[in-house]
């Protein structure tokens, strides 16, 4: 079984169409409502998604890990990480699944920099991303063309071995790091990203670095 995991926080406006578009491509859509204050859970449920509700907001990393634990409890072969704000295009899903299967990889990372057109804001593309790429490579030892892209596919081995402890946005770096530590085979795949909002700016990046640093001292 293939499932999509959508971490969602106050996404009632965009989530409905995202769930609908995904149901054609995966067997089950799992929405992790991360303590939303709006009708995110209701919208997801009405559109036919399985809904897991965090009673309080714990962050995107925490929501993804909850999705992984759901997958471990069910007969899931592949999980797809997908954003609920409509920034990804469902058209990329089928070829991405074909790619990870044909390459016999454990994990697939979506990339905005492998040919497909994305409308990335100028400063992000030319300043923040290059710095972040170098940082990620230095932190994880893996060279990727993109950083912090929320489009991923993990097979059973990957979602079992990767344990996301970073509750907030640093999980993206953590996933790459655990890919290397667990010797998982990875591939990159071009995906299209439609920017609706700016997303994380420079301060977000600083927060990620701070989170990664702090976690070195947190036991468990």
């Amino acid at each position: 079984m293939k499932i999509a995991i959508i971490p969602a926080y106050n996404e009632e406006k965009s989530l409905g169409s995202v769930v609908r578009s995904l149901l054609n491509h995966v067997d089950r859509v799992v929405v992790v409502d991360d303590g939303s204050k709006d009708k995110t859970a209701k919208v997801a449920f009405e559109e036919g998604a399985v809904v897991l509700r965090h009673k309080i907001n714990r962050g995107q990393g925490a929501a993804l890990q909850t999705g992984h634990e759901y997958a471990r409890l069910h007969k899931v072969d592949y999980v797809l990480h997908f954003d609920g704000d409509g920034q990804f295009d469902a058209i990329d899903i089928v070829p991405a699944f074909e790619k990870i299967q044909s390459e016999q990889a454990d994990i697939l990372f979506g990339s905005r920099f492998l040919g497909k057109e994305s409308n990335i804001p100028f400063i992000k593309k030319n300043l923040i991303f290059p710095i972040a790429r170098v940082f990620n490579r230095w932190m994880t030892g893996i060279k990727l063309s993109d950083i912090h892209n929320g489009f991923r596919i993990l097979n059973k081995r990957a979602f079992t071995e990767i344990n996301i402890k970073q509750d907030r946005m640093a999980h993206a770096t953590e996933i790459i790091n655990q890919t290397r530590l667990n010797n998982l085979k990875f591939v990159e795949f071009p995906v299209k990203v439609m920017y609706r909002e700016y997303g994380q700016g420079f301060s977000g990046g600083i927060k990620i670095i701070s989170d990664l640093f702090t976690s070195k001292f947190v036991s468990k």
């Binding site: 309080i56 925490a62 759901y70 509750d167 468990k220």
Partner: protein, 115 residues
């Protein structure tokens, strides 16, 4: 003047040490913690009652004045404690996440068509 301050500080220190012992007995702090705080207050007391003692240490480390030495040490201790607090908060946050996650997985909302 300085004598009044010294006497007040002595009373305060005794009070603080009694509090530490009480908390140790109640099991709120461990052996290491109790030792650290008792040592901390005794050191402070020595510095207040014999101000020259800090100058001796300061000179030994190449710092001009005893009060400067105390200031630097205080800053280091405060930053260290802040950092420890920060890590502790992160650790508590992760525990909260585990509880929230368990609750979410125990109460899944799904249509009866799923198994």
């Amino acid at each position: 003047m300085i004598i009044i301050f010294q006497i007040l500080f002595l009373i305060f220190t005794l009070f603080a040490i009694v509090l530490v012992v009480k908390r140790k007995k109640a099991g709120e702090i461990g052996k290491k913690g109790a030792f650290f705080w008792v040592l901390f207050w005794l050191t402070a007391l020595v510095a207040v009652w014999w101000p020259n003692s800090t100058s001796i240490l300061a000179n030994y480390l190449g710092i001009g004045r005893g009060t400067d030495f105390v200031l630097y040490i205080s800053l280091i201790v405060i930053f260290y404690l802040l950092f420890r607090l920060h890590v502790k908060i992160e650790s508590i946050g992760r525990d909260i996440t585990k509880v929230v996650r368990k609750e979410a997985l125990d109460n899944t909302y799904e249509n009866s068509t799923h198994s």
